[in-house]
């Protein structure tokens, strides 16, 4: 078991009223799964993903990740956990504009305090694997959206996470680019990476082995 959420509730108080963002969520994820989360705007997809990614907290319920109780962990430990096991892919790519492709890839390794030679080898490996060796010295602004997202995924994968979380990874891409990214996800999943993606599109959701539908913070 990779992770398990039980009776997760998350809410905000607005004008004396409690508005639920997540309501009684229960989810078990095994290693090697590929899950798509679907739902209309405002249904809580991104919040759900953030909770899984430990970027956001919750108000009630329990969350175990690799047999650790996330809800009991301190912020620092939580950060350590997601640093080590979780990679993020964003709709807006969120590459650092000031860094080249190569340096963007290197960033997570720096924070893991790996040695220079080791970092280089891993970055070279990743560039190779994603076929972007020729782009390594370019800055994000010099790449197309699809290429940027490719770098984003490469960056998320470089520290070999157990779980890849993707929030609308194709949202800003045209259909052909989107298809390529989805094919890549499928391939990665076959290689053993667990993926949870949030998506609007039925077509993309179909790449997942399991589809979760959310409406108003509830799983249906």
């Amino acid at each position: 078991m990779l992770l398990q959420l039980q009776n997760i509730f998350k809410w905000v108080n607005s004008g004396g009223q409690r508005i639920f963002l997540l309501k009684d969520i229960n989810l078990k994820v095994k290693e090697g799964e590929f899950i798509s989360i679907m739902g209309p705007s405002g249904s809580g997809k991104s919040t759900f993903l953030n909770v899984i990614g430990m970027l956001d907290g919750f108000d009630e319920g329990s969350y175990d990740f690799l047999d650790e109780s996330v809800h009991q962990l301190k912020e620092k430990h939580r950060a350590k956990l997601y640093k080590e096991y979780i990679g993020f892919v964003f709709q807006q790519y969120h590459l650092l504009d000031d860094l080249t492709v190569q340096e963007n890839l290197e960033m997570p390794l720096l924070y893991k305090k790996l040695k220079g030679a080791e970092r280089k080898a891993m970055v070279a490996d990743m560039l190779d694997r994603f076929n972007i060796v020729g782009k390594k010295d370019l800055f994000p602004a010099q790449l197309s959206g699809g290429q940027q997202q490719l770098v984003g995924i490469a960056r998320a994968l470089i520290s070999s996470p157990k779980l890849l979380l993707a929030d609308e990874p194709t949202g800003n891409l045209n259909s052909k680019q989107g298809e390529e990214i989805m094919e890549l996800f499928k391939q990665l999943n076959e290689e053993g990476v667990t993926i949870i993606q949030v998506t609007h599109s039925e077509k993309n959701a179909a790449y997942g082995k399991r589809i979760i539908n959310l409406l108003d913070g509830r799983m249906i």
Binding site: D56, L110, Y111
Partner: protein
Amino acid sequence: MFKNHIKIAWRSLKKQPFFTFLNVFGLAIGIAGCLLITLYIHDELSFDTMFADADRIHRVNVDVKFGGEDRRFAVVNAPLAEALENDFSEVELTTRFRTGGSVLLKTTGTEINVKEQQSTFVDSTFLKMFGIRLLAGDINSALKEPNTMLLTKTAAEKHYGIQEAVGKTFELNNTQTFTVTGVVEDMPKNSFLRDHTVFMAMSGFEDSRIVNWGSNNYQTFFKVIPSANVDAMQEPLKGFLGKYVIPGIQQYMPGITEEQFIASGNHLIYTSMPLTDIHLKSDRAAEISPNNNIQSIYILSFIAVFLLVLACVNFMNLSTAHSLKRAKEVGVRKTLGSNKIDLIRQFLVESGLVSFGALLLAIFLAILALPFFNDLADKDISMPYSNPLFWIILLAAGLVLGLFSGSYPAFFMSKFIPVKVLKGSNSNSLGGSKVRNGLVIFQFAISVFLIIGTLVVYQQLKYIQNKDLGFSKDQVLIVNDVYTLGDKSGPFKEEVKKLSYVENATISSFLPTPSARGDSTFAPEDGLTDQERAISMQVWRVDHDYVGTMDFELIAGRGFDRRFLNDSTSIIVNESAIATMGLSPEEVIGKRYTPDFGEEDPEMLTVIGVVKDFHFSPFRNDIEALCMRLGDLYAESMAVKLHTSEFQVAIADVENIWSQMAPGQPFDYYFMEDSFNDTYRSEQRLGSIFFIFTTLSILIACLGLFGLAAFNAEKRTKEIGVRKVLGATVGQITFRLSADFLKLVGIAILISLPIGWYAMNKWLEDFSYRIEVKWWVLVLAAIVAVVISLLTVSYQSIKAAIVNPVKSLRTE
């Protein structure tokens, strides 16, 4: 990791050249200004510290109140030095100075005189006292014999080489012959002897050996043994009054006791002050060299700190504002595994890089500005390049500055929550705007305060320059050293008066410009020994043309007249004098007074006229009582009232007459107006320094405001776009954007107006003649601040307001 920090910092700075420039430039101006002021203060504080054992050398001062006049002297009487050595076991050495003023030097047997600005008689202990080395000559015999002297290197080299000068004889002022027994290094620029080039042996100065406790003419220094407690010496020093002075006074006033002396409201208090305090803390009559005022050091220190703080605040403000643009970066970094410490470190590296760049630029700016600053401050400061401490302090300061000003932005940014910033939520919600607003208010409060200061200092200076002095200082040429003409001085005056454009000319040692002068005690005819009615007046020896040349206004009686032969025993007094006497101008005419208070067979002088008060002391002081009488053959200078604007012609003509009458004597002249202006140089200097650093601080504040406005406009791009789509005009939007900042400036004004008003009133209290801080000065300062900030902000506001909404909405 560190290398990576630097790389990223560098790129991020490069990517925002405008912000980086504002940051570096603002900080650099602050540092450069602070650096210059610090060098200046360091120089001022270093005065007289270069002398060996400077910390053990002290000077005796005396406060005298006698006959209703209160005076504070830096000089004491001649026998006091010996009394110090006899009475205090802790006194190791004493040295007296008796100023000789400017002297003319010529090698015996030649005709050409060279003028030296400052000379002094000194005791033979002088060299040992101040640890001064001889470049040539024998230290044991130098200054021992009468009519021997030491010259400084510069003075000696005008005539001989350093070694050759020893043993040579000179004629001083064409009258006395002196032998050079040694040559010393030039006196340090930052010492009380800075202008002195000629040191004559005291042993040849007759007056120094006469035991006269009544007249104060000697700057007296003493050196104590290392273990001495100088504070404990003050009480016995005060006891000198009863022990030595009173017995001296009894010669004139038989039977007077110390108790009676004090009971009649008199006092005479000896105190001592450390040598190193003199330059900044002594403001007494008869100082050896003009001193500075510790207050101006305080003011400058404040300004230096202000500047630096302003620059730091600027940096913080711009960085935090700018950091909102980098919120995304922080978010991404956090999701990639960065922790808070890493982020803080990274931003500190960035601010360190900026402050280091600013430091380099500041040093460069300071080097460029130093000559002008020296000119302004009348200093000879150089960058202490070779002093490692200078560099260490600079580097440390740069580091501290970087850490200090980088800390707030760094902590502020590192707190960003990834989910929020990655969602691209409104940057308003990231907070920090209260702090930023506070900082803007702070900056402008200081700027407004400095504007008020500048206006008030400027007005006071203007007031002084335009105030009716009671005499005419314009177009008056002063010719110095007229006494060298001897009895030809009279014919010289007559010759000069013949020049068509000369209105009048007068010869006197006394000019109505500030200088050190003594008083005499006068007694009225009907109260020759009545202490209560004794008055203290300055006595100016003048000639018949004096009142006319100076354009004094007679309010009663008449001036000196050649037709009245007994005018040699007549005096003309000023208004302050008759106020002390308690008489009206009409009553005083014909009254007789004597300067020989307490003496037998006193010479009686008749008051023949009263002149309106004129300002012969700085405006800081009240006008003292004064009388003028005829006499003084060997007067110092001649004042020539000109009626022409062709000053060069006049100078050439007068010099021509001079060299015919006194071949070989240097012709030395100046204009009275310049000397007058010299008196207010320290105020003028303060005024200029105030002005320059106010400008700098406003510049820094504006840089900050400009940056903030740019940031603000950018942040509100979408809002502006929406407003425009809904029909807002450019004017309305500009107003909207500017109003926020004006509100801050308004608060700043409210804070600083009362403080500025209070502080400037305090400063003005130093002047006996002063302006009041007018309400409109405060209003003007407020308007200046508002206008400057409006101009700064509106550029950005208008720029943002005229952008096509289609464009601005798309970028969101």
